[in-house]
């Protein structure tokens, strides 16, 4: 397989490829409502450090960007029981339109059923605007061992600025996930506050969308 033997003890490389019916990021579609294939690779080091790369095609109205890559890294440490915390930073790059590039730092916690994160960006989507995105995620096993329910609630805080074509908004997601071996299938319903998300970097957001995704992990 990969360099499992080359790496120091307990270091692990993992990855996944996914097919999503609509690339919805914080409630907004980055693929213009179209399905895309995505991939990610990740390295978990021995001293609780991690780093990864994520890539996806994008399609944004009035925007020449056609692909997105996120390079990220951080530190995750167990707390007690099933709880752990992590903190890190990520840089999002767009191929075709470097003007959209931005960086973000984040910190969060994770437990068996609940996780949360706060992300701060000083230049969200290349704009001179400082945003804070807060999110809470929940998952619950519906039927052992394959079926889970998922829920997500996020809030993007955007300071009101004349050139920012968006305002702070909520986005939510609820759905069902099924896991069979290395495969994971999710069917979720995404909702976003439409009035506050109009013409955000181009795409006319759908207040409610169904998203289906199929992933294979390795």
């Amino acid at each position: 397989m990969l360099c499992a033997v080359c790496l120091p003890a307990a270091a692990q490389t993992s990855g996944s490829v996914s097919l999503v019916s609509n690339y919805l990021f914080r409630g907004i579609s980055l693929s213009d409502g179209n399905p895309v294939a995505q991939a990610s690779v990740e390295y978990d080091g021995t001293q609780d450090w991690y780093a990864g790369l994520f890539a996806s095609p994008v399609s944004i109205e009035h925007d020449p960007a056609h692909a997105q890559a996120i390079v990220y890294g951080g530190y995750a440490h167990p707390l007690w029981g099933a709880w752990s915390w992590d903190a890190g930073a990520g840089a999002t790059r767009f191929a075709g339109d470097a003007a959209d590039n931005y960086a973000e730092i984040f910190a969060g916690f994770s437990g068996e059923h609940l996780s949360g994160r706060v992300s701060y960006s000083p230049n969200y989507y290349g704009l001179d605007v400082r945003t804070v995105y807060t999110e809470l995620n929940a998952n619950y096993t519906l039927l052992e061992p394959h079926w889970r329910v998922l829920a997500h609630l996020g809030y993007l805080h955007v300071p009101p600025l004349w050139y920012a074509t968006t305002a702070s908004r909520y986005d939510s997601r609820v759905g069902l996930a099924a896991n069979f071996g290395n495969w994971d299938v999710q069917l979720t319903w995404v909702a976003v506050e439409r009035s506050r998300a109009t013409s955000y970097y181009g795409n006319d957001p759908n207040p409610r969308s169904g998203v289906m995704s199929v992933s294979y992990s390795f």
């Binding site: 397989m1 499992a4 003890a9 307990a10 692990q12 490389t13 993992s14 990855g15 996944s16 996914s18 999503v20 019916s21 409502g33 179209n34 995505q38 990610s40 990740e42 978990d44 609780d48 991690y50 996120i70 990220y72 951080g74 995750a76 167990p78 029981g81 099933a82 752990s84 915390w85 992590d86 890190g88 984040f106 969060g108 994770s110 437990g111 609940l114 996780s115 994160r117 995620n137 998952n139 061992p145 889970r148 996930a177 896991n179 069979f180 071996g181 290395n182 495969w183 994971d184 299938v185 069917l187 759908n206 169904g210 998203v211 289906m212 995704s213 199929v214 992933s215 992990s217 390795f218």
Partner: protein, 460 residues
């Protein structure tokens, strides 16, 4: 609308693909109910736990992941798949099979159970695997045991008076009454009671007015005589090797627990007991004689009866040993206990009418445990019983033990073996060890029975 159509299409495709995929995967990756360890390994190796090791892989704490799968859990994220792949690689390197896995966030590890189909010892495997840097640590699968009492012993034996007084465990090393046919002429015996399973070889009903039913008195008597020993439940019978003939000639009155009647034969306590009559008993005794019973237990009493007397004399002529319970309410001890050829029994602790012995001249009444006896009860239960009925059952068991050793001993010989003194006392507590000692020539118990002489002692 377009989204929905695409979603539906993707869903349809995945449903088609996934079940096949799930069937392909040889072992369940998500935490599943663990297989029963040690009983039968995946590879079919006997006592598999001795060839199983636990391989711990480092499991990083959950963290930010931008892919579609992120949901903050341990099951479906890509980290688990990667660890699974590492475990499979490790297994392949050392020729093992991955049996099971369970993530343990409490320690930050993912625990994999691996088994060696070649049967290599777990300790050796653990040593070998420990040197591999891919595993955080490796240990053999260990076995643990509950620290309760020995599972095979009959739990109620501890409170059985016979177990203590008659040293049943030691006696049973010498004799169990193997294949001795003991006829229990009584109310119905629950022959499918867990502690009586396989002990009843014949079951007959001689009561015309009701069908065969499991009843308290008969079940209790049967249990005392021949309850299965060493099956880890209930009690051990005095003669667990005996073959019981459950001859239902009596019936339980008014559905109340007959065991509570104090074992009074004949049911004199207001209709709660066990009742029989000359006809039903006659039929049962006739059957017992014709079917070669070796011992007949009659835990009952009543007025003198010509039919029953004739039948019992016929039985004695054929060498059948008859054991009967003494009725303390009757001056003569009740019939058939009053018959000379019958072994009359009452309980050790029972208070006796002073005049009773006087009214049973020349008779030796045997004493056996008859109070607070744990025994089988209908409904697959056990209960405590008291009364001369149950003392008689003890003696029937004792006679069965003796009969295994001396099948053709006469009644006289039997009485001689049972007696421990020649001073003419009219009651005699049975010393089981001494009795068996007299028959075999060796004292079977650790009891020091100085009186276990080999000379038969004449009864007055």
């Amino acid at each position: 609308m377009k989204n929905l159509a695409i979603s539906a299409a993707l869903l349809a495709c995945s449903l088609y693909v996934l079940p096949a995929r799930a069937a392909d995967s040889a072992t369940p990756p998500a935490p599943a109910a663990p297989v029963v360890p040690g009983v039968s390994g995946v590879s079919g190796v006997r006592n598999a736990a001795e060839h199983q090791v636990l391989v711990m892989l480092h499991m990083p704490a959950p963290h930010f992941r931008p892919d579609a799968n992120y949901g903050g859990r341990y099951g479906g994220d890509s980290g688990h798949a990667a660890r699974r792949a590492i475990a499979e690689e490790l297994a392949q390197t050392y020729g093992l099979i991955v049996v099971n896995d369970w993530p343990m966030p409490a320690l930050g590890i993912d625990c994999y159970v691996m088994e060696d189909p070649a049967g290599d010892s777990a300790i050796h495997l653990a040593e070998l695997l420990s040197r591999d840097p891919r595993a955080e640590w490796v240990q053999p699968m260990s076995q643990f045991h509950g620290l309760g009492n020995d599972g095979a012993a009959d739990p109620l034996a501890a409170v059985q008076p016979a177990a203590r007084l008659w040293h049943l465990d030691e006696l049973h090393r010498v004799t169990t009454g193997r294949n001795v046919r003991v006829a229990v002429v009584d109310s119905g015996v629950e022959d499918d009671h867990p502690d009586l399973r396989g002990q009843v070889s014949v079951r007959e009903n001689f009561v015309d007015t009701s069908p065969y039913a499991a009843e308290a008195h008969g079940t209790a008597v049967a249990g005392i005589i021949a309850a299965v020993a060493g099956n880890g439940i209930g009690i051990e019978g005095v003669a667990p090797g005996a073959r019981l003939m459950a001859l239902r000639a009596c019936w339980q009155e008014t559905g109340k627990d007959g065991g509570k009647d104090g074992g009074k034969p004949g049911g004199k306590d207001g209709g709660q007991g066990t009742s029989c009559n000359s006809f039903t008993l006659g039929k049962a005794l006739n059957f017992a004689i014709l079917h070669d019973a070796q011992v007949i237990n009659l835990s009952l009493g009543g007025p003198p009866d010509r039919l029953l007397q004739r039948l019992l004399e016929a039985a004695q002529l054929r060498g059948i040993k008859v054991v009967a319970a003494v009725d303390p309410q009757r001056a003569d001890g009740g019939f058939p206990a009053s018959l000379p050829g019958v072994l009359a029994v009452r309980g050790l602790d029972a208070g006796m009418d002073a005049g009773l012995e006087a009214n049973m001249p020349g008779r030796v009444v045997l004493l056996a445990p008859g109070r607070d006896i744990p025994t089988t009860a209908p409904g697959a239960r056990w209960g405590f019983v008291s009364g001369s009925s149950y003392a008689a059952a003890h003696v029937s068991g004792m006679v069965a033990l003796m009969t295994e050793l001396q099948p053709r001993a006469s009644l006289r010989q039997l009485r001689e073996d049972l007696s421990s003194n020649g001073n003419g006392a009219s009651t005699m507590a049975i010393d089981a060890c001494a009795t068996i000692g007299r028959i075999t020539g060796n004292c079977p118990c650790s009891c020091a029975t100085a009186n276990a002489s080999k000379q038969p002692i004449r009864l007055p």
